[in-house]
Amino acid sequence: MKGFAHLTNVATLELDRDACVGCGMCVAVCPHQVFILQGTKAEIRNFDACMECGACAVNCPVGAIDVDSGVGCASGLINEWVASIRGSKTGGGGCC
């Protein structure tokens, strides 16, 4: 995304190029153009642009992509952390 970048080298995105069948779905669904089709396989062209939304992993028909996509906002993460300490399930809070 032009002009905006967050931290580098933190994304949990993993692409198994051996499993990839070159369908191009990851390219189509990624809002940050992280992937590109190189010949018959997908390739990560911009790793740090990944926001871990999970669209690629969900839409890969052969499960070649893995990413840790979950709640990504500070208050949501705090909720998760508190819940893990208390041993309770996350309620979601007033946001969602």
């Binding site: 970048a5 809002p31 969900v58 969602c96």
Partner: protein, 323 residues
Amino acid sequence: MPIISTDLRFVDRLGAWKARWGIGRMSYLVPPGLYGIGSPGPDDPVVVTANYKMSYDLVRRALGGRSVWLLVLETFGINVWCAAGKGTFGTDEIVRRVKMTGLAGVVGHRTLILPILGAPGVAAHLVARRCGFRVRYATIRAADLPEYLDNGMVTTPDMGQLTFTARERLVLVPIELVTAVKWAVPVMALMVAISLLSGEGFSFSTLVSPVVLCAGTVMAGAVAAPVLLPVLPGRSFAVKGAITGGGWSALLLWAGWGSGRWLDAMALVLAVTSVSAFLALNFTGSTPFTSRSGVKKEMRLGLPVMAASLLAALFLWIAARLS
């Protein structure tokens, strides 16, 4: 099966404004189901959206003058992007809604047009397998739908380009402000109470000082940092918030804030920058480019620093009172 208008009226714009300010936001929805725009027939396209009324309004407005089917999913009044993340704008709901509305009997084709930002919740290949409809991820913005429908359903690079303009950042600020103010008010009340109890008397400065301090800090972290996001140095949101907070405390000190004592000034700077940093960090939840891992890292590094800072500010302030 209702035919809906594509004109937004004052009440719709007012509803959107209220939602932006967090008023009735969690119940701003329309019933899920199949709606008609114009006079749709069996060959007309099916566009899918969430039942958050703001999403629904943006999509129907974009489709003015056309004949289109609008399939509204039950996302419990949550927008497409967040609902996709939660899974409610998802494979199961699409399959369920297609079956419940009898869509296969209404249209002859087997295509569903989806927003690109719905993709995190929707497995296109599974939708096809389970209900026979093929998902096409069209555009990011509803406003690009007319061009998409007219150009033979091709997603141009612009249609897939996510932006975060000043205006797009600004509309997200009110809800951050409202949330921050809810916390700021008790803090302000506490500060006023402490001033009164320590015998400072009921004066203009006793009441206004805490309000100005807190209001400015909230503005620094929840308004200035988001608005100035791309120009503030560094990639860390917490750092950007500390910078705007630092600016506010510098302004206060320059304006003669407090007693001019070193201890008070340090307490002020530490408290304002840490609170402002925290508020700015919270804005990550509203941005379309921060990752879960990035936010986790920021929190792991930043939260202890902010907490220590705030604690240090408290000690300095007490020390100032005692000396």
